[in-house]
């Protein structure tokens, strides 16, 4: 369970998140909103990459960012950048992160296969298209099979086939107790497999449909 209490993030005078209160149960959470609605900021706070200006965020009872290496080992994050090194091949990048996370190298090939990156495994990341870079970033986030997966616009620059490979990777990662928060401004791609949905507007939560609310809605 992720608990977000009275979370605000300011960048100078700009309010990125404004008194956000949320409880996110395990499952796949769709985080929707237009550009500059605060989705990326919320994901960075959840990943421990950005300290809140005020408020508190806990995951399984522990404050995000303060639990150190053990907590970081259980979080996977793919932001706007791929988080990879341009002068290393996809496989070299993933092997580097496999070493940092203590993951067997065989997992690198598995995750590349799931995301359709196998044929490009020896290509330098700097030579990839934006869509392939995005998929490689998702592969890095999924590499260590995290318990909390944070994906920021994972479908950007992807065609239908590539989008489906990302959705498939997320669905096959899914397991009881795991939580994914997937931010996107287009709900179409993930609507069919989200367990709950949050809509942000100008840093505030305007809609939060829990799993129960969504299933009740589906029965109507």
């Amino acid at each position: 369970m992720i608990e977000i209490q009275n979370l605000s993030v300011f960048f100078g005078r700009t309010i990125a998140l404004d008194h956000v209160d949320l409880e996110l149960a395990p499952g796949i959470v769709g985080l929707f909103g237009q550009n500059a609605s605060g989705k990326s900021t919320l994901l960075r706070v959840l990943g421990g990459l950005l300290p809140p200006t005020s408020g508190a965020v806990t995951w399984e009872g522990a404050p995000i960012g303060s639990a150190g290496e053990e907590q970081r080992a259980r979080i996977g994050f793919a932001g706007h950048g791929s988080g990879l090194y341009l002068k290393l091949a996809i496989r070299e990048n993933l092997i580097l992160f496999a070493r940092l996370y203590g993951v067997p190298v065989t997992r690198v090939d598995d995750v590349m296969e799931i995301l359709g990156l196998g044929p490009r495994s020896s290509t330098l990341v700097g030579e990839l298209s934006a869509g392939l870079k995005r998929r490689a970033g998702v592969a890095r986030a999924l590499l260590h099979e995290p318990d909390l997966l944070l994906l920021d616009e994972p479908y950007a620059h992807l065609d239908d086939e590539a989008s489906e490979s990302v959705s498939l990777a997320v669905r096959s990662w899914r397991a009881p107790g795991r939580t994914a928060v997937i931010a996107t401004h287009g709900a179409k791609r993930i609507k069919q497999f989200t367990d709950s949905r949050v809509v942000l507007q100008r840093g505030r939560v305007i809609t939060h449909l829990s799993a129960e609310a969504l299933s009740a809605r589906a029965q109507v």
Binding site: G47, G48, L49, E69, E70, R72, A73, R74, I75, F77, G79, H80, G81, S82, G83, L84, Y85, L86, K87, L88, E92, L96, F97, R99, L100, Y101, G102, V103, P104, R107, V125, K133, R140, L143, H144, E145
Partner: protein, 243 residues
């Protein structure tokens, strides 16, 4: 999927190998450092008249100084600025594609990130010196006899402190838009003691002092103390500069 995997040293070493591999492919840090150092050495060779006698006085603004002092000073000023050129690029590869986020989220102590950056920086500066010092010796007729190993030790001690400070402050400077300007402003005041010590000891060696004589100088102890303090500080404070 969390197997035991490599420990602190193994993970840090993976980062070192990564930076060396990136430099071998991109060649955007070491070549500018070497080019700067080489250019300065050659320019100096044309501006400092060498009589072949290193103890001969050289006229300077404030009077005169032995040529050994002048050459030692120029040697270390060249190393200092070549190093700053390299250190300013320490986090460039992490800025592209937001790889710094991936590193910060990895389960590795921040001191591992510090050593993962400091060790490649040390390697680069040692390589620059491996070219620069023989070049100085050829251009200015420096014959250290059996003291080359002592000079290498002094250089390594100076490099350790230099790299510790440079890596620590490069993490701070990397978060600003004018990092090439910020890094010298932050690092130079802190680096003054280490470079004074390096210049004094190198000048002694150029003048023919032995290992025992150099080791007895207070500057040698200062160099060692500086290294211990700033390597420890770098490892402990890196967390606060990189986040």
């Amino acid at each position: 999927m969390r197997a035991g995997g490599p420990g602190f040293v193994g993970k840090t070493w993976a980062l070192v190998v990564k930076d060396v591999k990136l430099e071998l492919r991109a060649r955007d840090t070491l070549p500018p450092m070497v080019a700067f150092a080489g250019a300065v050495a050659v320019l100096l060779a044309f501006s400092i008249p060498s009589s072949g006698n290193l103890s001969a006085p050289v006229r300077i603004v404030a009077g005169s100084a032995p040529l050994t002092d002048v050459l030692a000073g120029f040697l270390w000023v060249t190393v200092l600025f070549a190093g700053l050129i390299g250190f300013a690029r320490t986090f460039e590869v992490e800025r592209e594609e937001a790889a710094i986020d991936s590193l910060l989220m990895a389960p590795l102590d921040r001191s591992g990130l510090f050593f993962g950056k400091a060790i490649p920086n040390l390697l680069f500066i040692v390589l620059v010196e491996a070219i620069l010092i023989p070049l100085f010796a050829i251009l200015f007729g420096i014959d250290l006899g059996g003291s080359w190993a002592v000079l290498a030790s002094v250089a390594l001690l100076a490099d350790l402190g230099f790299v510790a400070v440079g890596t620590l402050f490069s993490a701070l400077a990397a978060q600003t838009s004018s990092r090439e300007l910020i890094l010298p402003i932050l690092a130079l005041p802190v680096l003054v003691p280490v470079f004074i010590a390096a210049v004094v000891l190198t000048s002694d060696l150029f003048a023919g002092s032995s290992l025992d004589e150099v080791a007895r100088r207070g500057w040698f102890a200062i160099l060692v103390a500086f290294d211990v303090i700033f390597i420890t500080a770098g490892a402990l404070l890196f967390e606060f500069t990189v986040e």
